[in-house]
Structure formats: structure tokens, C-alpha cells
Symmetry: C2
Subunit: 335 residues, 2 copies
Amino acid sequence: MQVKDLGEFGVIELLNRMVISQRTGPDNGAAFSFGLLVDSGDDTAVWETSKARELFTTDTMVEGVHFTRETTPWRDLGWKSIASNVSDVAAMGGLPTYALITLGLPPATEVNSLEELYTGMLELGNRFGVAFVGGDMVRSPVVFITVSLTGIMKDEPMLRTNARPGDLVAVTRDVGSSGAGLKLMQGFPVETGDTADYLRNCHRRPVPEVAAGQLLVKSGITTAMDVSDGLFDDLSKLTRASGVSARIRADQLPVHQHVRQRFPDDWLELALTGGEDYVLLFTGPKAGVDSTLTSLGEGAAVIGEIEEGEPGHVAVTTASGEEISLEAHGWDHFL
Amino acid sequence: MQVKDLGEFGVIELLNRMVISQRTGPDNGAAFSFGLLVDSGDDTAVWETSKARELFTTDTMVEGVHFTRETTPWRDLGWKSIASNVSDVAAMGGLPTYALITLGLPPATEVNSLEELYTGMLELGNRFGVAFVGGDMVRSPVVFITVSLTGIMKDEPMLRTNARPGDLVAVTRDVGSSGAGLKLMQGFPVETGDTADYLRNCHRRPVPEVAAGQLLVKSGITTAMDVSDGLFDDLSKLTRASGVSARIRADQLPVHQHVRQRFPDDWLELALTGGEDYVLLFTGPKAGVDSTLTSLGEGAAVIGEIEEGEPGHVAVTTASGEEISLEAHGWDHFL
């Protein structure tokens, strides 16, 4: 059955039933997100607020631009569309709370596909205590998914503007795995085995670093962002926002053995420019970063330091200090 | 210059400068919306919350589905994209606070058009104290605009589920003017004169009923929604949500003289099925509704009453009690 057979209101009712029946139990955001007073179905959702800081972000995926159905099945698309938003909240040090989902759909979209999409959304959302409280569904010649998400925190949010010369630069987890998964699917779509499974899963099911974000804030870290467009580009954005430059060491980048082994010639490029890893990139004085790293999981590592210099410039060097030339890839939708 | 010439980040910077330089001064939402701690440009926006109720809504407009460039210039499109969201907040009785804007754009979109779009958004937003705090911009084969908006209130929100048999049904302003404006532009695109100006303006620049929503809540009204899809359809939704039916009187509908005079054969259909008037539809016991009406402006009127019966059924009768047959138009995107 297609969307045009069931109709807008029929589809909305079906998806709402899925959301309500699978609504999250107690989890990360639960302490905050169960102040819900008015659920989806009215003019707006309504919840109780108390004294805190609220976070607000949105992210959109468009078919043919951000994903294709070949490399991203509907269920994984649902997962990723929520994960990218939760990752933004994690990068501030907050917990996600409420989400609205907007779907732009061709009339011939299969209803089963939307159930798959929502299954993936709920899998990721329930893991982090997100409550889905409404949205919009519209006809469109191309599939697009816009998620807007609120979050909450009591501490000081971590910003992109706080990096200072002398700060160490670190990441919470290894980088390049999602990009390696995409490269594998595009070049070797039928490859099997543990390495292929691992890399594909990294691309299709990235896990946002909510707990790591909490840990960074509690450890006194004040500068962070999530790596969605690739480490090199995102560090360039962070340093531009802070008015500083950075130097990172290629040999210190945490890159998973599956990535190094499967792509021996490309792992460095994947680590520097592959997007959608959703690790957190953070900076801070040496003592604070070092002690924070001991509490983070596998892959967390210092990768370089912040320097005075042209805002936004990022130099990449080898262990021997030789500079590696790297073009800014700049994931710009329109250039 | 087109978006593909300036690039994503260039366009974002340009539009952000517009937003910051024209950010609203003290207005409706100002008491709430100036707790902003982190503006657009970081992973998320951040603001302070206190003990209150927060509202959350989203609405999307797609080119060729919700608008065409012939009947809706870019500046009016900006106005309407914010107005439809503010109207949802008004229908709960709240004040709008923070908005995120997502733009889906073909690369050949003129940058001037986006400046026009944002001018319209800021005109409406500033009038009601909305602070624009970020968003997303993506490449898309078709223009779409998704706005997500938060709001705030201290009182009990008005719901669609509270209508009870015996309640009077009322509207805060006259209906059908926006639909008449659209009909005029589609059939008589070059018509001039006061009537044409008035009707076109009603379609292009609808004003959400924020003050009326506040007044309803303060008057003890507990049931309301905004009329975006047409009075008949929206009253049908309200009565379905409340498990009741309704009877409205065609001769009691407030319809502006310009609509009656310009469309003597169609004014009733326009009043019942024309969308995007953004008046508030509300119900309540006679004493409360009557006293509320005296405080509302021109056009506010009782139009019928709530009855026991098939949930969602709406009967329309003449002054002499004769029933008018009306097909549910049902603005369904996919049927």
C-alpha cells in the first residue's frame, strides 16, 4: 500500500500509534521528558518547564543529496535522521528531550517504508529518551526528513568559540569508520565478512555521544562540537569560531583497525574528511583533557593542539613534523 | 547572484546578519525570548527556561503544493511560513518565542529572493516577538520551507478535545477572505481596486490571532484551534477530537463585505472551505462565549453549537433550518 492509497491522515494515525505504543520508558532524557502535557494531535505539543537551559536544533536529510536508498535502507535512514540531531545536543553537553518529525513524501511512497523509517527513529530515540510529539507530513517530489529537537541541561553548554592557544585537541572516539562504510558500499556493494559488516554498520547506525558529552561538561570542558562533515572541516569551523588555528598529528588520529586494514591507502583521508562519525571534538588545557580521556572509552585520544594563527587554519603533520597538504573539502551543498 | 555562486556558508552568513541586525525589540514574546544564551552558529541554540509551559510546533510549505511563485511572492511566502506556525501557538493561548528555519533550495535560487523571504519572515516574526536562532539549509530540486517554533504560556492551554454538547461555536474574526484572495489571483490576476487589494492582502499577509488567543485563555475558554484548512474541515477535526458533532448556521458566518460583493455566488463556499484565514475557532458555554465576544474585534461571532452525535460530523443549516449539503473537502496531501 502506498501513501496515496492510505492518505495523509491515515498515515499520520498509523505512525502516531507506533510512536505512542513504543514510547520510551525511563532513560537518559526521561527525568525531563515526562512533563508532557499535550501530545501530538493538537495545534502544538505542550510540556512543563522548570529552571534549566533548553537546547534547540534541526537537521534535514534529502534523498539524492544526503542519502540514496541503495546505501541507506529506510530503517537506517530513520535512525540517522534522529542521531544527527541528538549528536548536536550531545555536543553541547545536554540530554535530548522532544522531537517533531516533518516528512516530505512522493505520493507513491510505500507505507511499509514509513513503518521501517519510524522503527529506526524509535530505536535511536528510545535509546536516548527522546519523545516524539508531533510534526508535519507534506507531498513532495523528493523524500526529505526534517527533525527538530529540543534538549536540556543544567550546566554551562560547551561552545565552538571557547578554544584558546595552547589547548589540546581531542576526540571522544575513533574517526573515519562511517566514511569507510560508505566507500565500501559504493565501491564493493556485495562484500561480506566481519570487516564489511563493521564498516557498513558504522555508516548506517552511528551512535551519538550523549554520555561522552555529559562527561565532558562534568569534567569542566568548555569547547566542543560534533564531527558530522569530517574532522578536518569541522575542526576548521571550530577554530574559525574561536579565532585560532590548529595543528593535528596524522599518527595520533584514532582510526579503527578495520578501516586501516581494509583501506591501507585511504584510511588517513577517510579519518580526516569522512563525515557522519558523530564523535565529539573538544579542546581544553592539558590537565583537564588528560584526566577526561581516562574516563572516556576506546578510541578517545589527543590529536593535536590549538595555536595562534589564521582563524580556521588547520595544519596536519606527520610524526616527523612534515606537513601534509590537504585541500579543504568543505561539504557545501551548493558549490 | 544565485545560491550556487555564493555557496551554502555565504548564504547562511548573509541571512544570519539580516536576522541579527533586525532582531526584534521588546514585543509580545520579549519577556520570554531574551533569555537567549547561545545564538545561531553553534551546534544548537540555548536559552534559559523557568517554571512555565512550553509549546512546540512545526509547519512546512512546498512549492507547487502549498504555494506557487505566481500567487505568493517570496516576501509574502516568508511572512506566511512564520504566520502559520505562530497561529498554532496562538490557538493554544501562548506567545511564540524561538524559531528554527530550514530551507530546501535549488542551486539556481536567486540570493535576492532569499533576502526577500527573510524580510517577510522578520516582518511577521518581529511583530510577535519571535527570535530566529538557527536552522538548516539544504539542496533540493524543489523549494521547501520548514519552520519549527517554540512558544510559552503560564495558563492552561486550549485543546481540541474539550468541546462538549451545548457549547456554542464561535470564531474570532471573519472567514473566507484568504480563500477569496486566492480565487481572485487565480482567476483575475490583473484586477485592481480596493476590493482586489484587500482580498489579495488577506491571502498573502494573514495575521495570526496571538492577542485573541491570550484573551480567550484569560476568559476561561478551554477549547480552540486555528482555521488553516478551512472552517468546515477544521471544525470537523475539532469535533472528532472531542467525540461530538456540530451544527453551524450559514447566515451567522462572519464574511467580509468585500468577499460577499466580489463573489456573490461563492462567498458561502469560500467561508466554509477556504483555508489560511488563521482565525481561531473556539467553543464554550454560552455565558463565557458571549462575554468573550464583547472583548474581541470586528467579525467575531457565534456561528453554531456543539451537539451529541457522530464524532466529526458538521451540519450546516440556513436561517430557516434547512440543511445545506456539503462535501468534506478534506485538504489531504495524498488523496
